[in-house]
Symmetry: C2
Subunit: 195 residues, 2 copies
């Protein structure tokens, strides 16, 4: 939500309380267990207020996502593109495997599949992630490990895509080996000059 006329007072407190409650509820109950009433009760903010300012569950998700997108994202720097790319993909995998963060991250994906506003928020989120992660590819190009015709963010996309595909489309388990293999495949393609 954008800055209101009274950003420093009660409104800001309400906003923070609701955001925090949303993340907590998401972590504990997951997306399908998330209700406006639970968030309202947990945050101490009245149900009506949540509906008025956030519009509903999708609004809560979008807001929480916007908050999450500002958190820093550690870019691996192992010295080689193999290690860096594997690191990026493993970070994705472990993020969803984490018992606390996993449900929250999954909720964002689930919400975006249904709601247009959440989809836009998630789009922006991933655009930022791609851009940041692409740094490992740009460094590899600078080191001469990859041809300079590669599209850095496309390498990232192809590397992480199989993990998301398994998790949210095919609904298959994802092992660490699967993640490494996905990273290696993207790297092979980049070396061959097709990315």
């Amino acid at each position: 939500m954008e800055t209101s006329k009274r950003p420093g007072g009660r409104s800001a407190r309400v906003r923070d309380a609701v955001r925090q409650a949303t993340l907590a509820e998401l972590s504990e109950r997951g997306y399908q267990g998330l209700t406006v009433e639970n968030v309202a009760e947990r945050s101490g903010v009245h149900k009506t207020t949540v509906y008025r300012r956030w519009g509903g569950i999708e609004g809560l998700i979008s807001d929480a996502l916007e908050l999450a997108s500002h958190e820093p994202w550690p870019i691996p720097d192992t010295g080689s593109i193999e290690g860096d790319l594997r690191g990026v993909v493993q970070l994705v995998r472990s993020g969803f495997a984490d018992p606390e963060l996993g449900p929250v991250s999954s909720a964002f994906v689930a919400a975006a599949v249904q709601d247009a506003a959440a989809a836009r928020a998630l789009h922006d989120f991933f655009a930022a992630r791609h851009e940041q992660s692409a740094e490992v590819v740009r460094r590899a190009v600078a080191r001469g490990e990859l041809p300079d015709v590669v599209d850095p963010s496309e390498v990232i996309r192809v590397a992480v895509a199989p993990v998301y595909y398994r998790l949210f489309v095919a609904h298959e388990p994802v092992t660490e080996r699967d993640a490494d293999r996905a990273a290696d495949a993207a790297l092979a393609a980049a070396r061959a000059g097709v990315l």
Copy 2:
């Protein structure tokens, strides 16, 4: 749903009517617009009957998905692995771009993200698709185009994953060129022996 004691009579008619109505509603209104009452009214079957036999929206989706999974899936045979793999990925892309089939396919993905039963149904669906599509890889191995150490269904997964990733996770548009590039990337990885 499994075969009941009276598969030839009224039960079968009801089942078909509901299935067809579900697909029609899905195509017109999408997943978020799908309600049991609409399906009931459209099919001419009473609301309570739908609830009793299908349990709810998720049951309707799972049933429709099970129906869809039995439909034949055309496997390309262009003579070369490049053409075949590109054909497989383009088939995925065009399926979601189609104004009639797209909403239905998307609904399956959306439902599976939320409901465990739908997730299982979609898992089975994709397992079958992977197995069928892997034929193009096996043929390529037989022709000597690819090393025989490749995991055929893994090549398919890596090839189609970027399309699904763009559509349902990053929510980016997917061009024909994107699809070809994904196929080419998987092929390069397979040739390099990492898949």
